[in-house]
Symmetry: C2
Subunit: 363 residues, 2 copies
């Protein structure tokens, strides 16, 4: 259902420019990139073991023998001008590249043990890179948006197929059907572990599917996303099996109002904590402040949780080209819960939803 | 196909005894466990955000509001006597637990940034734990073995179902069918991303499935495992579509001999580098030393790559109760490759295979 040939290219030169600009601002000679999604973002390399060294002139990917053929192929396909070095001694290789200069590392990804071994090998301890690569990754290019849109469209199509089967199924059966459908429709996998949480299980925001059979009157939270060419989508719908009780209908309505309030508050220049607060106020006004026990959203891209965070505990600010979920929820232990979540592109004037599944909760 | 009620219990008290023994030997007051599989190993908690503080008397799991209900349920189900604290300020909570004492951390898992924030908050930098928790996890208890055996049996059953369909399928279709079958048979998912690599793609040890259709004369490497109640299995078979060329048959035979040599060399007390060497010698004798470009195996458990490593670059030694793969392979760029892999339990006298799919390469 996705036309691969219509997907735009990634703007790789702009990514290296942003990284080298940050290096120059900080006054360090080079950067060692260790977080696999960031290595992929800069090079197109998808292997599990790769270190990227970047300085003002060059970029060198260090990997092991398993990727000796794959790595050069992927870099060439991405149009990235970087050398590949295959070795079983990556720290020795890095030491010769660093060559006594002051270099930076990703302090949030490098382990403490790795930092100690780099410091010993290099002779000088690497410093923390001032700029989080996830922050540079927050504003997406056209190639990235095409892939996230594809992931979202695949998920919409898969969910549409299972809605009619909910009443006869277990949580695990619904999850299995969804996961099979997203791959049948062209995804390489799920963006994260699919949540199908019914009845009392819906009170656990991160429940795993069980063998519980969906029964009349149950609320059912389905949180599902696809992985398409490395990029992810994220969406949650809440369904009712049969007819909603008055109490459940009120949960559904209030959380939907909260989501609308969050979306209405969002546009470039707005602090994400204000988007979080807009959602939270609606739920608090209903008397359920404590039942909304997670942040209101997050960025999405190569990782399922990226910048910006949408939370009361962040200073992140929205910019055009970012992707954010808005996903308020309420959870009542032993009883159930509701969550509505859509993935949006931040445009010049507000949010454009990329997930389009209907919000008709009657399954 | 798996009888859940027949699965043995985990020996949780023994795990805490081993950790507290290591704490006492090192002379530190407590340990902060941050690697999610190790947190799960000690507590049964399966959430994505949990820190475990262990000292001589107590164990406290620190998590966030999403897991406020799930965490106590999971700890009670595992029979673990640990307190759960829900907070958005985990470092503050840790600081009060540490209370000025010298504590250890997992240097291979804690990020450098986390180590710095702990050092600042605690007033004293935490030290590296001398004992890798993955080393303590290497010898499995009966409950763990039951689950790995279940994962292996599910994978055997799934592979048996697809063998007859290979000739008419693409790599992606075969992978999709396998992944659906393992979940239909009771797995919660794959142990890792399934590899189906045919023809020239089989020259990439970690190839991802493509839309390439399996054709006559192709070698097809299928590397597949299941996830069952948190535990993983791992197995690789190589198939031939139609009849093997003389060259391909020789690759298949030599790598099988190499695997048998590795298995024959393994028993408690043997250094894993000698198992690796036993595999490598057979392949080198055929003149293809450079074509075997990865280690000969690894432990498996809650993670797909655990202790012991089976490699020329480790000092790990086999002990009864460990699980290890033996998986030699040869890879010829542009042409193809062969890998045979089985997962084994180290018994008192040698290795017992847990994966049982036939090694008849003719699909």
């Amino acid at each position: 259902m996705i036309d691969r040939s219509a997907l735009g290219a990634f703007d790789m030169p702009s990514r290296f420019r942003r990284v080298r600009g940050a290096l120059a601002r900080q006054g360090v000679a080079g950067l060692i990139v260790t977080d696999p999604p960031s290595v992929r973002w800069l090079t197109g390399f998808t292997g599990s073991n790769g270190l990227l060294f970047v300085d003002a002139e060059s970029a060198i990917l260090i990997t092991d023998g398993r990727y000796g053929d794959q790595a050069p192929q992927e870099l060439a396909a991405a149009g990235v001008d970087a050398e590949v070095r295959v070795t079983n001694a990556p720290v020795d290789e890095l030491t010769s590249l660093v060559c006594g200069r002051e270099v930076a590392v990703e302090a949030d990804h490098l382990t403490w043990a790795e930092h100690r071994s780099y410091a010993t090998a290099f002779g000088t301890a690497p410093v923390a890179f001032d700029t989080a690569l996830v922050a540079l990754r927050a504003v997406k290019d056209g190639g990235e948006l095409d892939r996230v849109r594809a992931a979202a469209a695949i998920t919409d199509a898969a969910l549409a197929e299972v809605v009619g089967t909910l009443a006869a199924s277990t949580e695990r059966e619904v999850a299995l059907a969804l996961d099979h459908l997203v791959r049948t429709f062209g995804a390489s996998g799920n963006a994260y572990e699919t949540i199908v949480a019914s009845g009392p299980n819906a009170a656990l925001p991160h429940a795993r599917p069980t063998d519980r059979r969906l029964g009349r009157g149950d609320l059912v939270i389905i949180d599902v996303g696809s992985l398409y060419d490395g990029y992810r989508s994220d969406m949650t719908r809440t369904f009712v099996i049969g007819e909603a009780s008055e109490e459940h209908q009120r949960w559904l309505d209030v959380v939907l109002d909260a989501q609308r309030a969050g979306v209405a508050a969002a546009r470039p220049g707005v602090a994400t904590r204000d988007v979080d607060a807009a959602c939270r106020e609606v739920i608090a006004a209903a008397g359920w402040a404590d039942a909304f026990n997670h942040g209101a959203g997050h960025g999405v891209g190569l990782d399922i949780h990226e910048r910006p965070r949408v939370s009361s505990r962040t200073d992140d600010v929205l910019e055009a080209g970012m992707l954010v979920t808005v996903e308020p929820g309420v959870y009542f232990a032993g009883s159930g819960g509701v969550r509505w979540e859509d993935l949006h592109l931040v445009t010049a004037t507000g949010l454009e939803a990329l997930t389009h599944s209907p919000k008709d909760p009657l399954a």
